[in-house]
Amino acid sequence: MEKILTKKEFPSWIKNLKSFNVYGPVKKDALWEYERIQDPDKLDLNFKNTVLSPKKIIFPQREVILDFNHKKKGKPEIQEALPEETKNVIFGVRPCDARALTLTDKVFEEEPGDKYYLRRRHQTVTVGLTCSDPPSENCFCTSLGGSPHSTEGLDILMTELNHKYYVHSFTDKGRELMKAASDVFKNPSEKDKKDLKQVHKESEKKIKRQVKELSKITDKLKGMFDSPFWDEESMSCLKCGICTYLCPTCHCFDISDEVLSSSPLKGQRVRTWDTCQFPYFTMHSSGHNPRPDKSSRLRQRILHKFSYFVDNYDDYQCTGCGRCISKCPVDIDIIEVLEKVKDYE
């Protein structure tokens, strides 16, 4: 379904989505974050990039997976704490972040599937927004098979055309969302369609950064596990883990118990994001650590994304959002690292 929606009418669409929890970019202290929205006027589609990707709505940074309690001499009780059954919609999803969801899908859908992730994923409608201008100077989506108007992982893509949006839905979930406020949408004119094509074409040209010959890099990486390259590249790393924390494709997590009261024992089993950049991630209880230094951990990040994931899921585990580059405190630049791999002897 392809329609036109004026910017003025956009809030009316959201107001009609009464049965949905609506999420979208909200500006806070000069930065944007995806948040649950009550007032449609708070939703700001003139955003640069959000700090975190909308992955956090599908796969929260911290979620309770089990509740347990154990009275002395009684049988312990363990209950699954599944996400509430709701209908969610996320507006303003950047195409790179939507593609990232298709990658985390591969991990959590693989048998045996992960109920928590999949329930949230299935009950969430993703409404994308074409990046008419790159939201970050480090965007490089086009090097990874994506584009500023990619539709992978999206139910709907909106593209800004001056005072209106071109709204295109590709899935049943997307069409249903548009039907919820069918009177606010108009049919596109031939000119709108022409303009859309033009904006999409222009948007690709505006992506300035790129990695060339990625498949060559992937081949090269296979022989570089024991290379001193990783020592050189990780020299400045502070081991802060921000690269993985902000990454829309990183899926690694920890499971731990949080005790709420000790007698009788009551608590929660909690899943939290974790990172391959921290030493405890892989440290055995004996103290032995298969990845003992920052060199082996940078290598893991690069190889997971550009070698192991390619072998296991036939895709790069990166969509070129550029967050890890922009926010690294010591300017470790994944594009430069990959380019250096290509030329490394």
């Binding site: 997976i65 089990l66 347990f68 154990h70 049988k75 312990p76 363990i78 699954e80 599944l82 991990v107 959590f108 693989e110 045996p112 599937g113 992960d114 109920k115 999949l118 596990f225 024991d226 899926h251 690694c252 997590f253 920890d254 499971i255 731990s256 118990d257 005790v259 000790s262 024992l265 608590g267 089993r269 899943r271 974790d274 391959c276 991630f281 892989t282 440290m283 055995h284 209880s285 004996s286 032995h288 298969p290 990845r291 082996s296 893991q300 190889l303 997971h304 070698s307 192991y308 072998d311 296991n312």
Partner: protein, 274 residues
């Protein structure tokens, strides 16, 4: 998909045996599910044990699948969860989920001699396959065990080993001389070199500390064992058990689902990340 992959099933500890005391204690736990369960494992697989309030730890199942009455785990007190397990008593309840990982291809070894080589707690992961082979003795050739630990106190399954001596060749070792102990003095790889097991029609399975595994493999190769005849079982820190949490990988392999059992022919192609 109705099953919750993170939900453990409750099991009662029906028996605890102190295998090793001292500063590196080992206990063997036998457990039974409280409710009937479809849990069915193969030798070499692991299970995720839960102590509520403490967390989970991946432990290899040391009982044979032929043993239908209980699941057995032999556990070195080492981290948060294993310490909590060591404080538990018979009758206490733990959570179990699994089984996880691949298994020893014991069906393919029919007619072959099997040499088991263990160090310290490393006997636990191969105890299951050893018990299966022993129970189906007619299916296999000669069975033998080379096993060592720091001291004679650190051997696990001491009583069972005494009994087994009537059934198979058992070569024990200790790292340093001890009064009253007549077993081989030296490390496990040295004992392997000393006993010179024949590679002819044989499979060897080894498990122990990473450094021991490395030198055992070298000793076996020296004796003429081919890479395909050498099996080992590796471990890495795990949280999910199903290849999603991302930490137990050796290269593109997740030990929790693609391992823990590898032939040296397979393992040597993977990066040294264990």
């Amino acid at each position: 998909m109705n099953e919750n992959i993170y939900l453990p099933k409750l099991a009662k500890i029906i028996k605890i045996k102190q295998e090793v005391s001292g500063s590196r204690p080992i206990k063997t736990f036998r457990t039974q599910f409280l409710e009937s369960s479809d849990f069915s494992h193969r030798s070499g697989q692991c299970a995720m044990l839960s102590v509520l309030g403490k967390g989970e730890a991946m432990i290899s199942i040391s009982s044979s699948p032929l043993e239908k009455d209980y699941l057995q785990f032999s556990i070195l007190k080492s981290g948060r969860v294993t310490t909590a397990l060591h404080e538990m008593e018979e009758g206490d309840i733990i959570g179990i989920r699994g089984p996880y990982g691949n298994h020893f291809p014991i069906e393919k070894w029919k007619g072959k001699n099997i040499l088991f080589i263990g160090g310290g707690i490393g006997l636990a992961p191969i105890w299951s396959v050893l018990q299966t082979a022993r129970a189906k003795k007619a299916d296999y050739g000669k069975l033998a065990l080379i096993y060592g630990a720091r001291t004679s106190n650190d051997w696990v399954f001491k009583e069972e080993l005494q009994e087994l001596k009537n059934e198979m060749d058992i070569h024990l070792s200790i790292d340093c001389e001890e009064e009253g102990c007549n077993e081989f003095v030296g490390f496990v790889p040295q004992n392997v070199a000393d006993k010179k097991p024949s590679p002819k029609n044989s499979i060897s399975i080894t498990c122990g500390p990473p450094i021991m595994i490395k030198f055992v493999i070298e000793a076996l190769q020296e004796l003429g064992f081919k890479d395909e005849q050498i099996y080992t079982t590796v471990e890495n820190k795990m949280k999910c058990g199903i290849g999603k949490c991302g930490r137990c990988n050796i290269g593109k392999h997740y030990v929790c689902k693609d391992g823990p059992v590898y032939s040296w022919a397979e393992l040597k192609t993977l990066p040294q990340e264990y």
